[in-house]
C-alpha cells in the first residue's frame, strides 16, 4: 500500500515535469519511478491512509495562504531591519517546546518557523527546538513558545496527527 501511494505521487510529478504523453516518456517514467520506489521507498515517511484523507487535504489548503501571508510579513520585517541605518537587531538563541509528535509535523513546523518573522531553526531535540531570533523579547520558555510556534501548531496538528 505504501509503495503504491509513493508510486502514484512520483509518477504524477514525472508526468507534470515532462508534460507529454508520448509512449517513450511514459515507459521511461514507469521504469525510473519503479527503481526509485524500490531502492529508496523505505526512507520516505508516507502513510497513504493519512495522505488521502479529505479532512487533512482541506486543512492543508487552508494552511498554504495562511503561511504565505506570514512569509510576506516576515520579508517586510527583515527588509525594514536591513534598510534602517541603525540596524535595530537584538539577536539570541532561545529554546521552545512543541507538543507535536510525528516527524513530518515537526519538519513542517521547523520550515515554517525558518520562513516567518525573524526566526531561524538551529536544532531539534525530541520536543525542543532551538531558535535563532533576530529580536528577542519575552523571558521564559513558555512565552517564547507562544510567540514563535503558537500560530502554526493548531493547524499543523489537524493536518499531520
Amino acid at each position: 500500500m505504501k509503495f503504491i501511494g509513493e508510486f502514484i505521487m512520483l509518477f504524477g510529478i514525472w508526468l507534470l515535469l515532462t508534460w507529454s504523453l508520448a509512449p517513450a516518456q511514459v515507459i521511461a517514467g514507469v521504469v525510473v519511478t519503479l527503481l526509485v520506489t524500490g531502492l529508496a521507498g523505505d526512507i520516505f515517511v508516507f502513510k497513504a491512509s493519512r495522505a488521502f484523507n479529505p479532512v487533512r487535504i482541506f486543512w492543508m489548503i487552508v494552511y498554504i495562504p495562511y503561511f504565505l501571508w506570514y512569509v510576506v510579513l516576515a520579508n517586510l520585517d527583515v527588509a525594514y531591519r536591513v534598510i534602517h541605518p541603525d540596524l535595530p537587531i537584538r539577536p539570541g538563541i532561545v529554546k521552545i517546546q512543541t507538543s507535536l509528535n510525528t516527524d513530518m509535523a515537526k519538519t513542517f513546523l521547523a520550515n515554517s518557523i525558518t520562513l516567518t518573522p525573524g526566526t531561524l531553526t538551529v536544532d531539534i531535540k525530541e520536543n525542543e527546538l532551538y531558535i535563532h531570533w533576530i529580536y528577542v523579547h519575552g523571558k521564559d520558555v513558555k512565552e517564547w513558545s507562544e510567540a514563535i510556534a503558537g500560530r502554526f501548531e493548531p493547524i499543523l496538528r489537524r493536518i499531520f496527527e
Binding site: 508534460w19 516576515a74 536591513v82 520550515n111 525573524g118 538551529v122 533576530i134
Partner: protein, 111 residues
Amino acid sequence: MFWDTLGYIIIVVGVAFDLLGCIGLVRLPDVYNRLQAATKCVTLGTAFLLFGVFLVYGVNAIGIKALICAGFVLIASPTGSHALARGAHKGGVKLWEGSVIDTYADENKLN
C-alpha cells in the same frame, strides 16, 4: 492580458526582495543574522519570480515546471539553511557580541 500584468508585477516584487536579501547579507554583523535575512528574502523572492513566470505562461510546459520549481525552492531552502546554521554553531562560530542570550551553547556545555 490581466494575468500577464499581474505576473510582471509579482516578478518585479520578487527581484526587489532578492536585492534586499543580498544587501542584508552584506550589512548584518554575524553569520546567523546573515542567514536569517538572506534565506527569507532570497527564498521568497525566487519563489515569487517563478510564480510570476507561471502566471505569464499559464498552464503549459514552462508554467508547470516553474510552479514545481517554486514549491521545491520553498521546501528545500529553509532545510539547507537550518543545516548550515547547525553546522556553523557546532563548528564553534560564536554569536555576535551584541547578542542577548544563547541557550543552545549552555545546553551543549551541560551534556
